[in-house]
Symmetry: C2
Subunit: 209 residues, 2 copies
Amino acid sequence: MEKNDRLAERNRGFFKAKNLLVLNVVSSPGSGKTTFIRETVAKLAGKLRVGVIVGDLATDNDAARLREVGIPVVQITTGTVCHLDANMVAKAAAELDLDSLDVLVIENVGNLVCPADYDLGEDLRVVLLSTTEGEDKPLKYPPMFHSAQVAIVTKSDLAAAAGFNRAQALANLKRVSHHAQIFELSSRTGEGMSAWLDFLAGEWKKRQS
Amino acid sequence: MEKNDRLAERNRGFFKAKNLLVLNVVSSPGSGKTTFIRETVAKLAGKLRVGVIVGDLATDNDAARLREVGIPVVQITTGTVCHLDANMVAKAAAELDLDSLDVLVIENVGNLVCPADYDLGEDLRVVLLSTTEGEDKPLKYPPMFHSAQVAIVTKSDLAAAAGFNRAQALANLKRVSHHAQIFELSSRTGEGMSAWLDFLAGEWKKRQS
């Protein structure tokens, strides 16, 4: 773990020198990470250039979904490992043309437990909570939600059908991720995306010297 | 791991001597494990007596949801551990009056990776896949889906709203969980529950000598 923390700091320094804003996107399996990333990149087109590193136990389905819309993607296949680590990210990043990018998005393995402990050298950890998962997840997976700087409620278009208790979910998020910036959106309909994109552009600008 | 495997076999022998059918229910966070278990127990009332062991990193929300409808429940709080193990289950089972039960359901930590490697001494591993998670999960988490004897597609009432591709999901399940019995149901509406309950009653009966 200590070795991972040192390698993560090396990544952080390297990414900073490249003027990159780096996001580590984490969530349960099926919370909509890939669609969220695809729509974020599409809507930033012409403003910020984004590359993606995708982690999965098996298959390159997610990488393929991003690649087919023209996004530069590197796939990491972890086998049975339930998280990415800083070394995997350093190797994958070396395969991207970082000088042609403004933002690097790392899509972690779908898991609300293991990735919490692994710093990848990101600027912002972004945790997704879908309306179909239920409002109690922040309370049940506190290390992950506590460690995030950004919490995003996804699939807002399914909230009514799923009987999502929004007030309770936001209260739970504020309790566990009390320092996190919270957004609510639907990647599918685009509802709520602009506030997130404005925030991202602001974070990127802050880091340019 | 070898120690866990030995303890799991000890559990298996103990549960067999008690004439118990034991299920290990696994899934992503938010696939609907607790509601599924609650409705299964409610619909078995008068036929089979069910006790539950619930594992979570934090909170006893799930245990409380089961206890409030009169189900005998023991809670295991794992802290930062992403799975239950055979030793935890043995200790928790000792807190239940097993002689008054026919079925023991173990609700594992919500995680599609870590619990795959830990035999708990169950008769059947039951993996849940909700329609809102997407049809690709079996391909992306093969060890878990491969290890299950039963695969249940949950939240069938949300399939249309979520744009769930049923044919693709079943094809993926059959590819990875090719030996598994597959059920499709909604715990909320009750649709599809009877086939699952009949199967369960049959599995229980098989084990009575």
